[in-house]
């Protein structure tokens, strides 16, 4: 049966070729979208963010409007020297700019690594407060506490963290988050270093799992 043979229940039977989404309003009240996204991914190279700055992880070209969804972001922040770095929990902010916010330079979503740990019930932060570390590691005569998450939420969490107790600073953190946020025209994902001192950096790598609507 072709599209033309369908009885006109909706008044939209003139539509023959649809390249966008087809939304169907079901009796349950839920909208069903008739197409799914093409999964793609973006692997970021080395991130290096000075205090007060942000570094791009992933962006669409604003001159070509496109629609898609961010599925998941993985982030690994670490340091190979004991000094000169910002706090991987409390200075590192994942910023997502959607649509008009890209041009406005105003993040739509901001998530500290600390927030991502909260998705997992704040397990790492709680254990750091009580010094319930799993092991220690020594780098250039500095000993850091190492925390591995015992449980990780299905939506994200911090999986590993390194804590420098004498200096009260998180030296590294590995985390991931499932966002499932949509953009209708453009998007940008960046890492922001909130530390006011430009000499204190964040260093690491990130991956964005995203999809485009066909």
């Amino acid at each position: 049966m072709s599209v033309r043979d369908l009885p006109d229940w909706t008044g939209y039977s003139e539509v023959e070729n649809v390249y966008g989404d087809v939304k169907i309003y079901t009796p349950s009240g839920l909208w069903v979208v008739g197409s799914d996204i093409i999964t793609a991914r973006a692997v970021s190279g080395t991130l290096l963010v000075a205090g007060g700055y942000e570094d791009d992880i992933f962006a669409t070209d604003p001159s070509v409007p496109t629609r898609g969804r961010i599925r998941q972001i993985g982030l690994d922040l670490w340091k190979f020297k004991p000094a000169g770095y910002a706090d991987a929990f409390n200075d590192a902010i994942l910023r997502i700019y959607l649509d008009d916010d890209v041009d406005a330079g105003k993040p739509t979503i901001e998530m500290y690594v600390w927030d991502i740990d909260l998705l997992n019930g704040g397990e790492i932060v709680n254990r750091v407060h009580r010094q319930l570390y799993d092991t220690t590691i020594t780098v250039d005569s500095n000993t850091w506490e190492v925390y591995y998450a015992r449980n990780v939420s299905q939506r994200g969490g911090v999986t590993v963290a390194y804590y420098d107790r004498p200096n009260l600073i998180y030296m590294g953190a590995s985390c991931w988050i499932s966002l499932d946020c949509e953009w209708l025209e453009k998007v940008k994902v960046a890492l922001y270093n909130k530390n006011p001192n430009p000499d204190l950096k964040l260093y690491g790598h990130a991956v964005v799992l995203y999809g485009l609507y066909p």
């Binding site: 973006a42 290096l48 791009d56 070509v64 066909p214």
Partner: protein, 82 residues
Amino acid sequence: MASTREVMAIVRYPGRNGYIAEIFYRIKEENRVRIVTERIIEPYEANLDKLPLDRIRWVKENARKRLEQKLKKVRKGDDLPV
């Protein structure tokens, strides 16, 4: 068979070895649609992980600017893949 080709999306991100642009083309043939992806990698001048920290941002920014020059052609439709 009549077909049209349009740029569906261009995404950019700093990869491990270079700044990367992925161009998604939507190709329409009669009532069929398919998607073709092209990837452009603009290499960094040096391995980022071996660079001093204060040079990494500079090298990435330079590669991104060179990539932007190549993308200008794509936006104009001069450089479509077959």
